[in-house]
């Protein structure tokens, strides 16, 4: 007789139930309560029928949607939500995770493979989660002679810098974490911070291969930052602003890629180099220098660097969308909010519920986000493509490309922009004001 299932016993069943309840309580106390307090700390409590919704009325929020929705609405207005969730890090990390999955499946299709297949039953959709769990559970090993504080700080700084880049990206009109007037300059400043982290971490690890990788990364990033900045000068000349939101608004009718294709190409190539993607993945060239400046990172430190690099990938793709592809502008495709829900309420069987707080988000913002995501994902797909086609380039050819070809092309782009301005095609009185 096989003993696959043990015999049912009431005492064990009760014990397991109690166990379950205990875990729910523990998790709620550890995660749920701090979350609730954070929310309460940040939101402005709304006033309904002359009555302030205090936390003492918390249970009535759950029962009554007309009281829950104002709370959610005021949560959406907070800076905390913007930084942690929507235009900020949460949204970027979500898109980055999707990018990793898409990259793996997409490359697999190119290379006659299947890619992740088993984890999560449907086409390996949970593979990323299992990889993340594996990285978290791994031991972090630090070289004996490493400069420990800097070595520990490097992955966190890398993710933080990538997140700083994300915070400057406007996703929809008004939906940006930091709407600064010198947005483009701030972007350049944040990009200029990456080589410092790379060199610091490679020097701090006190190992030969990371050191060579770090020096390579420094060469690569510095020689590609100049064409990167020059390729965007054309846009600044024509729009007369550095604010990213205003740059998007200037492209309501024509995208800048139509007038400045050379600038777009130069920016795209420098973007590949800044992201250390094939064919410019010299700092991580595994057949030459093991894993370059990532060699000594292990466990979740490596995971954080990977997360940071994919968040950076999203930020650069979003930057390309904003500067050359018109950002969120696009025809209205999002269906309007059904007004009868507000006027007549939702009928669920015998109950008719009127919810005055709807809609949470307006149609314009949702449409803008949709177009932004579509364009950004398109750019990300094009960024992923060279990995299946090109081998790695060599460092001298890379520097040659950066200093001779790309800088020259960037200057050609600036002259085209100036010519368009003086010919009156663009600028005051032209196609685009």
């Amino acid at each position: 007789m096989s003993t696959i299932a043990p015999k049912f016993r009431l005492s064990r069943f009760v014990a397991s139930l109690m166990n379950l309840i205990l875990w729910i309580l523990v998790l709620f106390t550890l995660i749920g309560l701090p979350l609730v307090f954070i929310v309460l700390f940040y939101i402005e409590l709304p006033e309904i029928n002359g009555e302030l919704l205090t936390p003492y009325l918390a249970l009535t929020w759950i029962a009554d949607p007309s009281r829950t929705l104002p709370i959610i609405k005021s949560l959406l207005q907070t800076d905390f939500f913007r930084i942690a969730a929507f235009p900020g890090f949460g949204f970027a990390a979500l898109l980055a995770a999707a990018t990793i999955y898409i990259e793996r499946k997409f490359l697999a299709k190119m290379q006659l493979r299947v890619g992740p297949l088993y984890c999560g039953k449907v086409e390996g959709i949970l593979q990323l989660m299992s990889d993340g769990l594996k990285l978290i559970s791994k031991e972090i090993i630090i070289p004996a002679k490493a400069d420990k504080p800097i070595f520990w700080a490097a992955p966190l700084l890398f993710v933080g810098t990538a997140a700083a880049l994300v915070s400057l990206i406007p996703v929809a009109p008004g939906w940006v974490v930091a709407d600064v007037d010198v947005g483009l300059l701030a972007v350049f400043a944040v990009i200029g911070f990456f080589p410092i982290i790379t060199v610091l971490s490679s020097w701090a690890s006190n190992s030969k291969f990371p050191f060579i990788g770090g020096i390579r990364a420094l060469h690569q990033m510095i020689s590609f930052e100049i064409p990167l900045i020059l390729s965007l000068l054309g846009i600044v000349i024509l729009t007369g602003t550095l604010n990213l939101t205003e740059i998007v608004e200037s492209q309501q009718h024509y995208w800048w890629i139509i007038f400045m294709p050379i600038g777009a190409i130069v920016f795209f190539i420098t973007l590949l180099a800044e992201l250390e993607r094939i064919p410019f993945d010299l700092p991580e060239a595994e057949s030459e220098i093991v894993a370059g400046w990532l060699t000594e990172f292990s466990g979740m430190m490596y995971g954080l660097v990977q997360l940071g690099s994919y968040v950076k990938l999203y930020a650069f793709a979003a930057l390309f969308t904003i500067l050359f592809l018109g950002g969120w502008s696009g025809p209205m495709v999002w269906p309007p909010f059904p007004q009868e829900i507000i006027t007549e309420g939702i009928t669920m069987g015998p109950i008719t519920m009127k919810i005055p707080g709807l809609p949470l988000l307006d149609q314009e913002m949702l449409n803008a986000t949709l177009w932004f995501v579509i364009k950004t994902v398109g750019v990300i797909m094009v960024i992923l493509l060279p990995r299946g086609v090109f081998p790695r380039i060599r460092i001298d050819l890379l520097l040659h490309t950066g200093w001779y070809k790309l800088i020259g092309l960037a200057f050609v782009n600036i002259f085209i922009a100036l010519a368009l301005l003086y010919a009156g095609v663009l600028g005051p009185g032209g196609l685009i004001q």
Partner: protein
């Protein structure tokens, strides 16, 4: 008192300009070997290959087994090319024992050895692809290799270690539908090879990177004693299948592939051209093969050789592969000496890598068509 540490293990001063890198044996860019590389900035000052991590004493083992028992372990140095490494042994033992090989067996041997050359070259090519960071070229040859492995499996029953050649012919006859299947898959394989040309050999980045790096001149190639694709890419027309034809190669229609440049690009291209030529040989051999007949000459139990010696060599995937077999009236050989192409091609590595950039190291190293396990034997 200072103890002299082995090379590559000495401690060095931090402020020295020249840095020593141990590439291997635990490095993604090395095989089962170590390269002690000294770099000055991005330039390689000197390179000292350090093989011997997978020495298995195959030659000594061969002295304790009889002529038939030696077959399965002698293919171990390079299991991807097992037919070609057994070929010279079988030829030499046949010469020693005075065995005649049936005509059909000779053709089957040629087909199997050419298929195995393609299998080996695809494996080599996929690693060359990933060494240069071209991940598609890593996956495609690995996938297409399966087709040819299936053919060899149908022939011999094993996927990699075939042990198919025996002194006196081949172990067993072909299955009934082998010829049509072989022709179909080789035709498909030729079509795939054209796609490799588009994505890899005509790739502008690859050409930029490998053309003009690690140039081996014609005289150096001869003087350093290189063989196979390294020698033929330096402009020396030396293909043993043409120069010293064994079995039925003289009846078959093929060209030996020679390029003049002698750089890593040419060295990586000659094996590719060889694969195309192998397809021609297989198709020609399938046409000319006798449709029926014996494939194996029956041997006496425990055959004995006289007081004699024999040296035979063949063109393997990595160049000339020779076996020198000495017998002294016993059922075991007195000595088996394997002369492999890998070791002879490795010798020119320090000459080629000196003065190159570090980024060229994988491109030059793997283009030498070097298989560390075979070099150590």
């Amino acid at each position: 008192m200072t103890t002299q540490l082995p090379p590559g293990m000495q401690l060095e001063r931090v402020d020295e300009r020249i840095m020593t890198l141990n590439v291997g044996p635990q490095h993604p860019g090395s095989g089962h070997m170590r390269l002690i590389i000294k770099v000055d900035g991005d330039y390689i000052v000197s390179c000292d290959p350090d093989p011997g991590y997978v020495h298995r004493g195959e030659e000594k083992m061969a002295e304790y087994r009889n002529y038939i028992q030696n077959i399965p372990h002698l293919e171990r140095p390079v299991i991807h090319d097992s037919c070609n490494i057994l070929y010279p042994y079988c030829l030499a033992v046949e010469e020693l024992l005075g065995i005649e090989v049936p005509e059909r067996a000779k053709y089957i041997r040629v087909i199997a050895s050419e298929l195995n050359r393609c299998v080996y070259t695809l494996y080599w090519l996929s690693i060359y692809g990933i060494f240069l960071g071209h991940s598609t070229m890593f996956m495609w040859p690995m996938g297409d290799r399966e087709l040819l492995i299936d053919l060899l499996e149908a022939l011999s029953g094993a996927r990699v270690t075939h042990a198919y050649f025996v002194p006196g012919g081949v172990r067993n006859d072909t299955p009934s539908n082998f010829e049509e299947r072989c022709l179909r898959q080789v035709n498909y394989f030729e079509k795939r090879l054209k796609e490799y040309e588009d994505i890899f050999y005509q790739n502008p980045v690859l050409k930029q990177r490998t053309e003009g790096t690690g140039i081996l001149s014609r005289m150096d190639a001869i003087r350093l004693g290189t063989t196979g694709s390294v020698l033929r890419s330096a402009g020396v027309d030396f293909d043993i299948r043409k120069k010293e034809p064994y079995d039925v190669y003289e009846n078959l229609d093929f060209q030996s592939q020679v390029l003049k440049e002698g750089d890593s690009y040419a060295r990586s291209r000659v094996p590719y051209l060889d694969m195309l030529e192998s397809c021609r040989i297989i198709k020609d051999a399938l046409k000319k093969m006798p449709k029926s007949g014996s494939v194996r000459t029956k041997l006496k139990p425990n055959p004995k050789g006289g007081n004699d010696e024999a040296y035979r060599r063949v063109e393997s995937g990595r160049g000339a592969l020779g076996m020198y077999v000495v017998s002294d009236n016993k059922i075991e050989p007195y000595r088996v000496k394997i002369s492999v192409g890998s070791f002879r091609n490795m010798i020119c590595m320090p000459y080629l890598l000196k003065g190159e950039k570090l980024g060229n190291m994988p491109a030059v190293y793997w283009s030498l068509n070097y298989w560390p396990v075979e070099a150590d034997r």
